[in-house]
């Protein structure tokens, strides 16, 4: 088996202690995925595993064996950016830029979760379809900390993309 990372097959590391995060950063030099706490408390290391957003710091690389991983580098490129990447620039959804790849990866998966009807803690009626409102986005993005305080720009950027997708 192998881990498929942004379309490339990579062997799982020999040392079972190696996290998916460290595999990405230290062995593959895919440093767009960030380390902010290494203990599941900040969201900077968010990547998509089989399309679901997860924390790569608490995922052992071995656990990703046989799965497909998408990082910020695989989400979009300089020539063909993901709509969220463009929107983050337009709405100034970052300052230092360190939590940004995690925010964008989380947002990409989150919009799909809403589209699939997944509820959140602030969804008033758990049986009704979820909508990408400001409050819903704020709750659903709360696992991604930002210390520069770019929260308004981040939510604005996500709302913009959600509107474009709905149009």
């Amino acid at each position: 088996m192998a881990i498929r990372i942004n379309g490339q097959e990579v062997a799982a590391p020999q040392d079972a202690r190696v996290s998916l995060l460290d595999l990405l950063r230290e062995q593959l030099h895919l440093t767009g995925t960030k380390v902010g706490c290494n203990q599941g408390a900040c969201g900077a290391c968010t990547v998509l595993v089989d399309g679901a957003r997860v924390l790569s710091c608490l995922t052992l690389a071995a656990q990703a064996d046989g799965r497909s991983v998408t990082t910020i580098e695989g989400l979009g490129s300089a020539e063909a950016p993901h709509p969220l990447q463009s929107a983050f620039i337009a709405h100034d959804g970052f300052q230092c830029g360190y939590c940004t790849p995690g925010q964008i990866c989380a947002a990409a998966a989150m919009l799909r979760e809403i589209a699939a009807g997944v509820p959140s803690y602030v969804t008033a009626d758990l049986t009704a379809p979820a909508l990408p409102t400001r409050d819903e986005i704020r709750e659903r993005m709360s696992g991604n900390l930002c210390r520069c305080g770019a929260h308004n720009g981040i939510v604005d950027a996500i709302l913009r993309v959600a509107e474009e997708q709905a149009a």
Binding site: V54, Y121, T127, G143
Partner: protein
């Protein structure tokens, strides 16, 4: 983190076989275990990944909901049966951690989650009877705002951090466990132990046993979950309340109450339920029920507010469930 081996179990039988090896631990989503291994609090030599086991969510013949131990928290919360039949459970799961963590965490793993006590988590610098039996407890006299007001012992006042388990406790859920000699069911309210003088023993799970599934009996009335915390989101509970209520002719026909954030285990409020059953839901009745429930409470100066907070939150939740604005 110690050097460790990693294997995937393809079946419960395989998991049972591998977990019999000394130093081996079952690995679900890893959201708690991997963190504790990195801190040196857990030091397994082998990990058996059990996320390939059943993740089925389906109705059983008796009308209860059967959730495979490997089902992810997010999948359970999003499941139509859970949202429509037991909204309190969906809401409790959604109150926990973040979307990323819920995508990783499994139901079985959530049951085995360990405490967030600051002194338990500080392997290098603090005494903890749970980590190191007999060493002492630095939470007494320290920061214990998040600690237990009831159910604790002189040895330990750490609280169980799960939201989901609070809802499961209220719903009389059962944990189905496989062992070498077959399977057994443990009531969730019994699954977690109170610390007594052995706070290191946290559940009734025996070494070598594997959690297969959780069964959640149907509940006839509306149910809800409210979590009170220091941040609006992504924080452990100071107090949480799970409640279900059936009112017939103005009286409580069935009621379920469980508290989180206040005790070493998900705290099913049997005494409060008994006090309220058959009564009208009035503030006086709730006050009396709370007084009965917390008669044995042992609050500390840093956390005494939680009893009052639990009562207020319960009162608001029951008002919401009974559709009144009392």
């Amino acid at each position: 983190m110690n050097p460790v081996t990693y294997h995937r179990a393809a079946s419960v039988a395989q998991a049972l076989e591998s977990s019999a090896a000394p130093g081996h631990r079952l690995l679900g989503g890893g959201t708690n275990l991997v963190d504790l291994m990195r801190k040196g609090i857990e030091r397994p030599t082998g990990l058996i990944d059990v996320t390939q086991l059943s993740e089925t969510i389906a109705l059983a013949e008796d009308g209860s909901l059967l959730v495979g131990a490997a089902a992810r928290n997010s999948a359970v919360a999003a499941h139509p049966l859970v949202r429509s039949r037991t909204p309190m459970l969906a809401r409790a799961i959604l109150a926990g951690a973040s979307a990323q963590v819920r995508n990783m965490a499994t139901i079985g793993g959530n049951l085995m989650q360990r405490t967030r006590c600051l002194y338990f988590q500080d392997e290098a610098g603090s005494r903890c009877n749970k980590r190191d039996p007999g060493s002492g407890c630095d939470a007494y006299g320290g920061f214990n705002r998040y600690h237990a007001v009831i159910g604790g012992s002189p040895a330990c006042i750490a609280v169980h951090p799960s939201d989901m388990c609070v809802a499961l406790a209220a719903f009389d859920a059962r944990v189905r466990v496989a062992g070498a000699s077959g399977t057994r069911a443990i009531a969730l309210v019994d699954f977690h132990r109170l610390p007594g003088d052995r706070p290191d023993l946290e559940t009734l799970l025996e070494p070598g046993e594997v959690i297969e599934a959780v069964e959640i009996p149907a509940f006839a009335g509306p149910s809800a979950y409210r979590k009170v915390r220091d941040r609006a989101s992504y924080a452990f509970a100071l107090v949480s309340v799970a409640a279900g209520l059936v009112i017939e002719e103005g009286r409580v026909a069935d009621i379920r109450i469980a508290f989180g954030g206040i005790a070493p285990k998900p705290w099913r409020a049997f005494r409060a339920e008994a006090a309220l059953r058959g009564a009208a839901v009035t503030q006086a009745a709730i006050d009396a029920a709370m007084a009965a429930e917390f008669a044995d409470a042992a609050p500390l100066p840093g956390n005494a507010f939680k009893i009052d907070l639990a009562g207020r939150t319960l009162s608001a939740l029951l008002a919401e469930l009974s559709g009144s604005d009392r």
